[in-house]
């Protein structure tokens, strides 16, 4: 809620305060817009203009060649420029990304919210403390070392071994499930998010216990309390966590890359972007050969412009998601505003 009261907003002092806040915020806005402007402008520049000095925001010879490359118009299959990422049309990857992000959000947000609510308000202090560390403890381990065991686990769930073991004294193997090459292999590991758990818990902690007690006295079941009282209040934080779940699923490349490598029809956009960006932004061993696709792109003069075009494409759904979830956030502001 605004700190400067609505009624006194016209007083000179309040005006000064508000005015300086506005100036500060607008400067910040300009700083933020610069990278975006750079990204969009670079995506329309020809390669030779990218590093021009002095830097100019409006391309001298605007071109859509970068977007053309992305739209699969310059690489018909079967040419020497055989870039495997373009084997499928761009919309396949976009669709996959959307499906993956939607599944992740639909599974992750409720599971995480319920757990956070239980830890914050329902569990006895001792188990709450224990569960808290159980839930966030894995954040403290860098994910890089879990890549191999996680893949083994998902490749024949629930056996985290090299191969599925035999049932003792028989030649039969234990039953197992393989998630390799399926969406589930990507979605299941993201079914619980420790980060969103922290957010939810932080939020539920700010809610007074009286609200729940009152509901209980009214005879509401725990589920009803959660549904009817907590969730409406939690609307802003649900919007935020959904947004984070969406963007992290949207941007994640290593999970999908390892799980779906053999099934290109299911690649999300992030994998394609990663494959295209890595030779621009990562350290190649200076000796030895490189990806034939990278070689092809280098020869055809593709550079930052194509990368930025990709970044623009990548950013659009995130931007839209932001606008949608902002409305949810704003609703929270409006409801609370009416109350005050």
């Amino acid at each position: 809620m605004p700190i400067v009261p609505q009624v006194g907003r016209r007083s000179p002092r309040a005006r000064l305060t508000l005015g300086s806040i506005a100036v500060f915020l607008w400067i910040g806005v300009l700083l933020h817009l610069f990278p975006v402007a750079w990204m969009i402008s670079a995506s329309f520049k020809p390669t030779r203009e990218i590093f021009d000095q002095p830097f100019n925001l409006i391309p001298k010879e605007p071109t859509t060649a970068s977007y053309g490359l992305l739209a699969n118009t310059v690489t018909p299959p079967g040419t020497d420029l055989n870039i495997d990422v373009f084997r499928y049309p761009l919309y396949t990857y976009l669709l996959n990304s959307l499906v993956l992000a939607a599944l992740t959000v639909l599974i992750q947000v409720p599971i995480t919210a319920m757990a956070a609510y239980a830890v914050s308000k329902l569990h006895a202090p001792r188990s709450a403390k224990l569960l808290f560390f159980f839930f966030i403890g894995t954040l403290m381990i860098p994910g890089q070392i879990a890549i191999v065991p996680r893949f083994l686990l998902l490749s024949h769930f629930p056996w985290p071994t090299r191969a599925v073991p035999d049932i003792p004294f028989t030649d039969l193997m234990f039953p197992s499930l393989s998630f390799v090459g399926t969406y589930w292999g990507v979605v299941l590991p993201a079914a619980f998010s420790a980060f969103n758990f922290l957010l939810f818990k932080g939020f539920f902690d700010t809610l007074p216990v009286d609200l729940i007690e009152a509901a209980r006295i009214d005879g509401a079941s725990e589920l009803t309390t959660l549904r009817k009282i907590m969730l409406p209040l939690a609307r802003p934080v649900i919007a935020v966590t959904t947004y984070f779940a969406f963007t992290s699923a949207w941007n994640d490349f290593l999970g999908p890359w390892i799980m779906l490598m053999t099934n290109q029809a299911k690649w999300p956009l992030s994998v394609v972007i990663y494959k295209l960006q890595f030779f621009l932004t990562s350290w190649q061993p200076s000796q030895g050969s490189m990806d034939p696709a990278a070689q092809a792109l280098l020869s055809s003069g593709v550079g930052y412009n194509a990368l930025m075009a990709l970044a623009v494409v990548e950013s659009i759904p995130m931007f839209l998601a932001f606008v949608i979830f902002r409305e949810q956030l704003m609703k929270g502001i409006q409801i609370a505003g009416l109350k005050g």
């Binding site: 073991p165 290109q264 350290w283």
Partner: protein, 548 residues
């Protein structure tokens, strides 16, 4: 919950006992000739093929288009859509399977080129999903980790074994056992340069063409870089990663030498004046001459873009890229500037005593160590066929025909130029000499002929990981360039680090092995670089190479 835990614990225990499964159960039966095989019924044919090899699509395979679209089938699409490359892939697959009736070839997508390759490979081999062969990076560390099958017997039976370039044979040999096969892309680090700028500045080589002499030294390099850099036109003489400085003047210097105290196998070569000199030179080139542009935040790819944008006269490149680009984008520098007249290719400069630091390497192929004997033999056959044999020739023919139909020059010429084996020019439309500029051919000739020095691994000596060592050396050069630190202190600091982390081991028969190794090195220099041998190697051998 508890039952679940118990179940998993039991599972893990059992896994330890269960025998490893090979991907294919083999039913011994009588071997059929291709002709007999063809007479089998479809069902019997399928049953007969019980040796499966998985071929990575980007390195030996070809996948059909994913969708049939408006066509009747995906093959139809390839046929009517002009996708001859894929069809040739299928043809090769069919031919190979007919020749080896037991073998079934499966093309799988597997990426070997992105930086996540090590983790992808680790994941794939630990879950039995790896392709039958893959690129063997980070030798010899990955060999010691058991990531490749032993190929010694198969290699010894192969009449072409000795046709592989010496350097490629050496890099995959550990203690007499052979683990890799030379794949494609024979090459070395070379200097790519702007011919037009060299011409402008009046720098010509011994053949009267614009460019550096083929036997130029790092001192020549420095002078040329200075001459060609022109701040007013935003031109540098050279641009590249900090890592490039490893080779400037480091020629003939070992960054690690036998431990004189005899406690470990190696120690960092801290007192060698040549290394000090190389560090000083790198510092001066960047900070005093200001003729070289380098930065930690600019990547290999970005430096090449800088070069293409006309911001530098020279850059270090991997040899096969230059002819490839020449064919692929002949008009990259503009309509009036054909690529071959604009970009030249020269060998790396030499050390002052005439030693060349150029090392010819290829993409080594390693094979999945969990393959059965039949699978390994089949995969080995496949690789021979694909990298050198009939399948390769078919691909060249297809690419030629393709290019003829389209009226351009196929990039397959650069593949033939960079073939590790002896190229058979008969299969080409035009001889290589008519396609490539003289300096490309000449440089490739030098690469092909450049001798390869003996490696410690061949003599049973453990080596530090190349990447780790490279990283430490890049860090050292970067610090020398970016700070004012006293270089002797820098060397001491690096020695402290490298000795404790990467050179922290000692083998059993190190003294004897070391002696054999040093003898081989001496012999190598005496034979190939007599001047270096007498003026530089021998004095340093007695001073720094103490075997204990």
């Amino acid at each position: 919950m508890r039952t679940l835990l118990l179940l998993i614990a039991t599972g893990m225990l059992l896994a330890g006992c269960s025998r490893p499964k090979s991907a294919v159960g083999s039913a011994p039966g009588k071997e059929l000739t291709p002709e007999q095989y063809q007479l089998l019924s479809d069902k019997d044919k399928i049953a007969y093929k019980n040796v499966l090899i998985r071929v990575p699509e980007t390195w030996g395979g070809a996948l059909l288009p994913p969708h049939k679209g408006p066509y009747d089938s995906t093959i139809d699409k390839a046929v009517h859509g002009g996708d001859i490359r894929t069809l040739m892939g299928l043809y090769n697959q069919a031919l190979f399977e007919l020749r080896h009736p037991r073998v079934k070839v499966e093309y799988i997508p597997f990426d070997m080129w992105s930086p996540t390759f090590p983790s992808v490979l680790a994941v794939a081999i630990s879950s039995n999903r790896a392709p039958s062969y893959y690129i063997a990076r980070d030798l010899p560390a990955t060999i010691e980790k058991g990531m490749y099958a032993d190929l010694t017997d198969l290699m010894k039976q192969w009449d072409q074994y000795l046709l592989q370039p010496e350097g490629s044979r050496r890099q995959g040999t550990v203690n007499g056992r052979i683990y890799t096969l030379a794949g494609n892309e024979l090459g070395a680090e070379v200097i790519r340069f702007r011919k037009d700028w060299f011409k402008e500045a009046g720098i010509f080589n011994e053949y009267g063409e614009p460019g550096p002499r083929t036997d130029w030294t790092w001192d020549d390099f420095r002078a040329i870089a200075k001459k060609l850099s022109d701040p007013s036109r935003k031109r540098y003489g050279y641009c590249g990663e900090m890592g490039d400085f490893k080779s400037t003047g480091g020629t003939g210097v070992d960054y690690y030498i036998p431990d004189p105290a005899g406690k470990k196998t190696w120690v960092f070569n801290q007192d060698d004046p040549l290394i000090l000199q190389a560090l000083q030179r790198s510092r001066d080139i960047v900070n005093k001459d200001k003729s070289v542009n380098t930065s930690v935040s600019t990547t290999w790819y970005e430096w090449h873009q800088e070069f293409d944008a006309g911001h530098a006269a020279m850059i270090q490149s991997f040899a096969p890229h230059v002819p490839n680009e020449f064919l692929r984008s002949p008009r990259k520098f503009g309509e009036d500037k054909p690529y071959g007249d604009t970009v030249g290719m020269a060998p790396l400069p030499r050390g002052s005593s005439g030693l060349s630091g150029m090392e010819a390497i290829t993409n080594p192929v390693g094979f999945d160590p969990t393959l059965s004997k039949e699978q390994l033999a089949a995969a080995f056959e496949w690789c021979k066929d694909w990298f050198y044999g009939d399948a390769f020739a078919n691909r060249v023919r297809q690419a030629n025909a393709d290019a003829r139909a389209k009226g351009n020059v196929s990039t397959v010429y650069s593949e033939v130029l960079a073939l590790p084996y002896k190229p058979n020019e008969q299969m080409l439309d035009k001889p290589l000499a008519e396609v490539f500029p003289k300096d490309y051919l000449r440089t490739y000739n030098i690469i092909r002929k450049s001798p390869a020095k003996p490696l410690p691994r061949e003599f049973g000596l453990k080596e530090p990981g190349k990447r780790d060592m490279d990283r430490a050396m890049i860090a050292m050069y970067a610090e020398a360039i970016t700070t004012q630190i006293d270089l002797k202190a820098l060397l001491a600091k690096t020695a402290n680090l490298v000795n404790a982390t990467q050179l922290n081991f000692r083998g059993k028969d190190d003294a004897a092995n070391m002696q054999r190794y040093l003898d081989a090195r001496s012999e190598y220099y005496r034979k190939n670089y007599p001047r270096f041998f007498s003026t530089a190697w021998q004095p340093r051998l007695t001073k720094f190479y103490v075997v204990r």
